[in-house]
Symmetry: C2
Subunit: 259 residues, 2 copies
DNA sequence: AACCAATGGTTCAAATAATGAACCAGATGC
DNA sequence: GCATCTGGTTCATTATTTGAACCATTGGTT
């Protein structure tokens, strides 16, 4: 691994629970030498990828990433395309919706919409990294990912975020197969307790899976009516989003059932 | 300059006119050795900062920057805070408004809003890099930047984007001084012909200037009425945005004139 | 007030990774 | 069928990165 990767991997330790990280913490987290971390962070700071909060002390992400993200959106306007789809899907289902995208070997939730209807709703934070085996979105993605990628996930550690999280590789494999067959995945409390999610994959122009569109509802509201309505609306929204970004579904993707 | 800076500087060559760059172009643009550029880009690709468009060929920015930008917004929610301010200011003035932020030694326009009123309007693109000497936003920022920073800008090459661009260092210095005295800057056709812009600086919690809020109108619509109304609305909006992000104006910032 | 354990930051010889000229192989143009 | 692009690769030379140890401050404990 080259120096550039090491430096940029340091940025991976930032998340919603750790928006600012001190030198010592970063040294511990990364397992690298303190002097190395210091030099890398100093260099990242010089190019505006991180900044120090005031004068000295801990680091946080810098303003330069905003410019790059805006240009990425200009190249591949998937987030902007998703906003209307998310909003309409939220209104139609009455529940929280979100879009997650593959970023290398991670799946991050990057855009969401809330429904106005209910006082209680599933709350989302952008940039949260999702597990593949414990979320509907993750299973939907795995259903259409490379075999080697799926194997790597099933081989790796399968953490249980909740008591309901499925961690048996064989069982997860069955869920993935079901996702591929039906074009949709579900998770009941696999990531957050009391949350029942449905998700469909989103495809790019090369027919590769890019991420997933999901509806997350409190389990208590998942009535028989909703269990019918949500998959129907979600499937249509997923196809619409894939289409809006110029994507193409793979040949084995199950078509919309007739109404 | 270390390897990390070299790699990340490569990302600086991406812009709206060049969303995808091939290896040879990048080699020429950067002046570095082709093997070096190749290795750096391969490494950036491995961590998801760039990706290759399909299989092989040219590079574009990768999905990883989206996650970092979302986290940056969670740290410093300046873009989300700006959206309402921009929208209201656009509605009030009937013109295009935008927010630009300092990113190291660059000023990039990162968020904008259009007014619904007119058929003609000034169009904006996010992530466009602005000149300091030829835009109202740039002058507003320089008015409250470090002396050394101002000196570096005036010392550097001062490109004329339009025939109207002021490129005389002494004249620009006078514009900067005026911006500091009045808390507002103007530019008539200094960046795009026929565009008359006003801008006010935005400050952070440490009283340092972060960027500028601007109103851009076609010169033809800049009537005496608008010349009064826009500065008034803009000044109020700038103070509101500074306040909403927890910023503090420096002691010498001219207060709002009484109505 | 002395002590201890943190913190961020710095040094310098040794170890390692980056560099660049030259070289492939394929595509495109003439 | 020659010339010139392109992206990609090699390998000895060179320059950068590395890491143990060391400072200076800070905050908490006895």
């Amino acid at each position: 691994m080259g120096t550039v990767s090491k430096a940029l991997n340091l940025l991976g330790y930032f998340n919603h629970g750790r928006l600012e990280i001190g030198l010592s913490d970063l040294t511990r987290l990364s397992g690298m030498n303190k002097a190395t971390v210091y030099r890398l962070m100093t260099e990242l700071q010089a190019v505006g990828f991180v900044e120090q909060v005031d004068g000295a002390r801990s680091y946080r992400l810098g303003p330069q990433v905003l410019r790059l993200a805006a240009l990425r959106e200009a190249s591949v306007p998937i987030l902007s395309a998703s906003r209307r789809v998310l909003r309409e899907l939220s209104e139609e289902t009455g529940e929280t919706t979100h879009l997650s995208l593959l970023q290398g070997d991670q799946l991050a939730s990057l855009s969401h919409a809330y429904a106005p209807q209910h006082a209680t709703k599933v709350m989302m934070e952008d940039a949260e990294v999702l597990t593949f085996h414990g979320t509907a979105s993750g299973l939907a993605v795995l259903g259409f990912a490379d075999d080697s990628f799926v194997a790597a996930i099933l081989d790796g550690p399968l953490e249980a975020r909740t008591p309901q999280t499925q961690t048996d590789p064989a069982a997860i494999r069955r869920l993935i197969d079901a996702a591929r067959r039906t074009g949709m995945a579900q998770s009941v409390g696999g990531f957050e307790a009391e949350v029942h999610s449905h998700a469909v994959p989103i495809f790019g122009p090369d027919r590769a899976v890019l991420g997933a569109l999901a509806v997350a509802a409190p389990s208590s509201r998942m009535t028989d009516t909703q269990k019918q309505a949500i998959p129907r609306a979600l499937r249509a929204a997923g196809l619409a989003l894939t289409q809006r970004i110029g994507g193409v579904c793979p040949p084995d993707f199950p078509p919309m059932p007739l109404p």
